[in-house]
Each structure stands twice: as structure tokens, then as C-alpha cells.
Amino acid sequence: MDRHSATLKINHERCTQCRMCYLACRELDINAVYVALEPLHRIEIDPLKCTYPGCTVCLAYCPAEGSIIEVETGRSMVPPPVDVHPWSLRNLTGDRSQ
């Protein structure tokens, strides 16, 4: 799969609405994560603004396994798989030098 065509979405069955993804995304001025304009005010990701896999900050801060998924593959991205998060691999191998 061409990784550049990949998009993320929130899995509401797992998301705890902690909003860390929202805050981190907003801090970077990407503003892809937003509050849906419906009474439950759930968090969503705007695929037109999201720069994944260029940015993976939401994955880095999400605490709830399975709550952000890659639309094209259905794969859970939390915790971030090593192929999208190089520092995860370093942590697994105990290499903290970088």
C-alpha cells in the first residue's frame, strides 16, 4: 500500500475521549482532529487536514489501544506499530542513544 494515501480515523468503541490527540494536533496547527458538531461531541479526524503518515503525534499520545485505526487497512495504530514510529523500535531494542 502506498503509505502516503493512508488516512486515520477514530474508533469510537475504544476511544475514551481523553482529547490528547486533539490537543497535540492543535498545538502543531494541523487542526485535523476536531469535535463533531453533534450532541455527543465525539472526537473525529478530518482526512483532508490530517498529514499522516507525515505526522503521527496523535498516535504518540493516545492511551487507548485500538482507538485510532488506519482506514485503508483497518489496522489499529495504537500503540503505534514500529513501521510508523521509529522511536518505538528503539525503545523495544533498548537503544535510547538517539
Binding site: Y22, R26, D29, N31, Y34, V35, L37, P39, H41
Partner: protein, 246 residues
Amino acid sequence: MTSLPGKDLARELLEQSQLESQTGPMEEVIAAARQRKLDSDALFRLVGRLWALERLFYYVYGGWGQGLEIGDTPLSAKYLFARQIMDESTHEMLYLDMLLRKEWIATQKDAFHHPYSKFTLDSALAYYAFALRNLATYPHPVRIAGLNLGPKIIESGWMEGLAEALEDDVLRSLFSSQLVENRSHINMGRRIVEECISEPFQAELCRWACRLGKRDYTMFLHELANFVLGRPSSLETRTVAVRVND
């Protein structure tokens, strides 16, 4: 079921505020929306100023949180307060999302500096926020009565009217999606007063806080309506002095 001590007081405050919510400064804004007279710039002024107020609730509730232990506040009231903080944060996010979505601002940092959305000390908005923050030294049920059974009811009234009047679907949803949480806050206020207020002096404090909250919020609404409709803002508003016995 055991009768709750503050039931009559809660009903009294609720009904009084509901009565007052039927008219107010926002009526003119609602009428302008109905007549399609609110252009994009006016709507930017509206959302920008509402965002400025919402974000000040972090400041207000920060102060209130410090005083939660005063008067041995019941756990249920503390839980409800935590929920209310979360909801208020949601509303702040909704307003900022809208500023970005409509491209009225490019980044969230811009919102802090733009004349339509920045915090200004010399304003009715600041006056209201400071007055609310001052309630930090009062028992939690008193200040919750002063907000949730006063300004929140006024807010719910105009917000529902505005949501119905607006033509833009996204803006309609911005306001209509908040109605459930606003009703929830009003019910929280009702429950806390019913449960926690049992003595005449406490009841009088609740009435005082409620009158004060509505007076200051109405002053903010006058300023907001003037701002949205392009009229000069002034602190000289039609307010009734609240007699304070201390």
C-alpha cells in the same frame, strides 16, 4: 423517598431565571439572524467573543476547584463539577474549531490576538469572568446556584433561539449541539441546591449569587450584542444594582 431540603429553593431560582431568559440583549441578534442580516464578519465577532468567554472558564473553574473542600462538599457535587469542567472545555474547543473551520483565523495562536477573540481587560466579558471567579471563596453549592441556575438558564434560552434562527447549518449545529450539555448543567445546579442547601442563610446566599451572576452575564450579553451588530460597546448597561448586606 426522602424529601430534599433545597427543593423549593431550586424551583424558585429555576423559574425566576426561566422567566428572565425569555427576553434579553440577544433578542436583537436572533432577529438579525432570522432576517439574514448577520454577515460573515458579524458571525466571526459572535463566535470570537463567545470563545473568549469560554476559555475564561478555565480561569474561573481553576479558582473554584481550589475551594472545593470548603464546607465539606459532597462527593456527588465534586463529580458533577468535574463533568461540567469537561463540558465547558468541549464548548471552548467547538468555538475554536469553528473559527478555524470558517477560516476566520489561520491558527489557534491567532485567536489569542485577533481583536474579535482576544481577551480585553476593559470589557463586560472580563467583569463577568472576574465576578464569577470571585465566587471561589463561597461554598460550592452557592456558586453553582449562582451560575447554573442563573446565567446558564439565560444562555440556554438565547442559544436555542439563535440555533433556530441561523441559516448556516454548521453554525446551527455549533449552538444546537451544546443544548444537551447546557440542560445538564442546569439539572446539576438543581440537584446540588436540592441536596446541599438546607438553611435560610445558605438559601439567601444562593439567591444573591444568582442575582449577581445574571446581572453580570446580562451586562456581557449587552456588550456581545452591540459588538455583533456593529454598535459601540459600553459598560454603561441597563443593570439593576444588587443590594449586598455584609
